[in-house]
Symmetry: D2
Subunit: 139 residues, 4 copies
């Protein structure tokens, strides 16, 4: 349903949409949602195990994913500079979270799965940034 | 992946889990996620059409869904009174949002779809509340 | 500044406002903001100390405060049933968070301060609920 | 109270803290909180007036402020690259929001006040970024 609504909404955006496609948007939303959920659960488990830095970084990543997801869903407010800076912040946050989680991935299954979700998100954000940059009219 | 992590996490909860099952949890998370996304998109479209009350109620519903979703994912902090009051607040908010959206569902496709997502969430929250109440030890 | 904007916004609400006053609204917003910040910091500290249940309940309380605060700020969407159910959920969540924090308030300064912020919020939510109930036209 | 908790928490951070001070942290938290509240109220008012793009950009800015604020409060997870990228994204988002609001600041008091809160936040984020960069050990 999200994508049916999204297709209608994308036609109302002021941002140049050449090169953007709903499939890529769906991939982003799914990666953000999966990463957000994995990070909330990982932070919850970390806290019970005294892994304070991991809990903190996972909580940060969950919050950034949430903000990024909402920003993508609000097509009327799309702005190239804003989207690019937030996609970069999201990728940077997810990369750091993954690195922290990987330090205890062998003993902690939730960290291993959370790191996977973060890595997937980094890949997706980079792909999306690339597509948006290519779609941008020469400045 | 969320559900693989969830199964491990549910075994660590302090709340009595008889009668709860991961399938029901998954249904809740999906309904919350779908409703949150529909509400953010509907609010965005409403605003461009000057439907201020609908935009406001959809934004509220999105925020409540977000808080409820995170609460469900944090199994270590589950507490019966807290969960019941938030599930009730979520159902009340989604019901009001659906009622508002239905007033302009005929002319506005995003409102029609958002109302459907809200109704689905109300049903899911009521089912989950019932299961949790039944699973509760006599007091 | 928030209150200057709020006064203008309150005059646009559809909800009956007799008995409501901007001072009470400001008190709510401040209690919600203080509790949210205290809970995020307490959860962060708890996690480093392995206090998993406290971290989880504080994180929940922070999220509920956030949703409640935004709902209060959106005067166009005010709805009595929605506001009452969310104020009740907020009070219930903050009360449970305070109870958990008080269990380790003697050894943990952040828990003691977080419990104080939660207690203050419970009092404020109950006062606001009472005022809104009194202001409600007979049904 | 936030700052009393913050001082204790800052001593537990792994990030080099030379050059950072609690006063600067407080300034950031206040600017983020004020901007978040102004943006939620401005978006609510915009929607009722059919200013779709402004509502959307204000909602984005509110969400980014929220994530940035929580990240600042979680001292255990501080990471230089993550903080710098999020402060930059926050400044970029607030700058774009201010520019949009300024287009209708003459006819709309809430837009004028929201733009002021955004501008204040941009200044604060830039000051904080500069201090963190200076405090960073040579790499």
């Amino acid at each position: 349903m999200t994508m049916d609504m999204m297709k209608g909404a994308m036609s109302s955006s002021e941002m140049p949409m050449d090169g953007m496609d709903p499939m890529m948007m769906q991939e982003c939303l799914e990666a953000l949602s999966a990463c957000m959920q994995a990070c909330v659960m990982c932070a919850d488990a970390d806290a019970a195990e005294g892994m304070g830095r991991c809990a903190s970084m996972c909580s940060n990543c969950a919050d950034v994913c949430d903000a990024m997801m909402r920003m993508m869903l609000r097509t009327r407010g799309w702005d190239m500079a804003v989207m690019m800076s937030m996609m970069q912040a999201t990728a940077t946050t997810a990369r750091a979270c993954s690195a922290e989680c990987m330090m205890h991935a062998e003993m902690s299954e939730h960290c291993r799965m959370c790191a996977m979700a973060c890595d997937q998100l980094v890949t997706t954000m980079e792909k999306m940034s690339g597509m948006m940059r290519d779609a941008m009219p020469m400045g």
